[in-house]
Amino acid sequence: MGDSGRDIFKSTTLADKILFFVLVLCAASAVFLVPESIGKRDTVTVSFEGRPLYVLSLKKDAVVTVTGALGRTVVEVKDGAVRIVESECYDRRCVRAGWVRKGSIICLPNHIFVTVGEGGSEEVDAVTG
């Protein structure tokens, strides 16, 4: 090998280095950001006390009934949104939350969590009351 590796690096240009680092930075951050923003958003997880009972797709309309601590909760998925239709709990706050496209609906009395995206129950440290 006639010329050393150092000569090779010397003959690269500033534009080379900028291009390289910008691309690596963009791609590396996208590796982490893209799955968060698109990959998991489609799923609806219905769980009782942290245990997933149903994993539904936001794109497919569906109605499921689950049994919680106090009674039944009816969850409906329609047109990319999810709501709790009715729940056998005492305050019906979950029903009044209406249609949700992201985030969660929580029926605290009935211990039912409806989360758009994954890992919904992991975002909660503890349930009291």
Binding site: G2, D3, D7, I8, S11, T12, T13, A15, D16, L19, F20, L23, V24, C26, A27, A28, A30, V31, V34, P35, I38, G39, D42
Partner: protein, 177 residues
């Protein structure tokens, strides 16, 4: 085309095919992950002999290479051709529109980027037809492509430097040192 140029194209295409074939023997964790070693030859052809030679070498490589690996008229062939053409065109555009702004290393990274961009687009249009898997895989593809592009560029730079310095003739014969 003069005989000298034809011989040069044939020789470079043969080099590219050898690298292409060797690469297909290497184990890869996922089938779409490739080093793109043949791009080294495209880059050398572009920098030393111009756009036409580089384009012909690449087209010969994708067609004959796909005959070797048995992907000829299928989607793999279309992806390979699209990627190869995108790579040559983008590298040539950068090389001739902004001479000396990028060294072969920068050109190689640009080529890898457009190669991947076009392949992802073609994969979306022809095979997968769903946006989410493409978007999910794209950042990883671009990240790896930037690294492999850089490595291929460094190899090209080394070879181009030696050919220009007259240490090695383009036909591979060692002249001196």
């Amino acid at each position: 085309m003069p005989l000298r140029d034809s011989c040069r194209v044939a020789l470079l295409a043969a080099f590219a095919l050898v690298l292409h074939g060797l690469e297909s023997l290497l184990p890869s964790p996922v089938p779409w992950m490739r080093l793109g070693l043949a791009n080294i030859i495209t880059l050398i052809a572009l920098c030393l002999y111009g756009f036409r030679t580089a384009l012909m070498v690449t087209l010969i490589r994708v067609v004959v290479g796909s005959l070797f690996t048995g992907t000829f008229p299928g989607p793999g062939f279309i992806l390979g051709t699209g990627g190869g053409a995108a790579s040559v065109l983008s590298m040539a555009a950068a090389h001739f529109a902004m001479p000396r702004l990028f060294s072969p290393v920068g050109l190689s990274i640009i080529g890898a980027f457009f190669h991947n961009l076009v392949q992802l687009l073609l994969a979306f249009l022809l095979i997968i037809q769903r946006l989410e898997p493409i978007l999910l895989i794209a950042p990883t593809v671009f990240l790896l492509g930037t690294f492999t592009g850089m490595i291929n560029g460094l190899v090209s730079l080394h070879v181009i430097g030696r050919i220009r310095a007259g240490q090695v003739a383009p036909d591979g014969k060692q002249i001196a040192g």
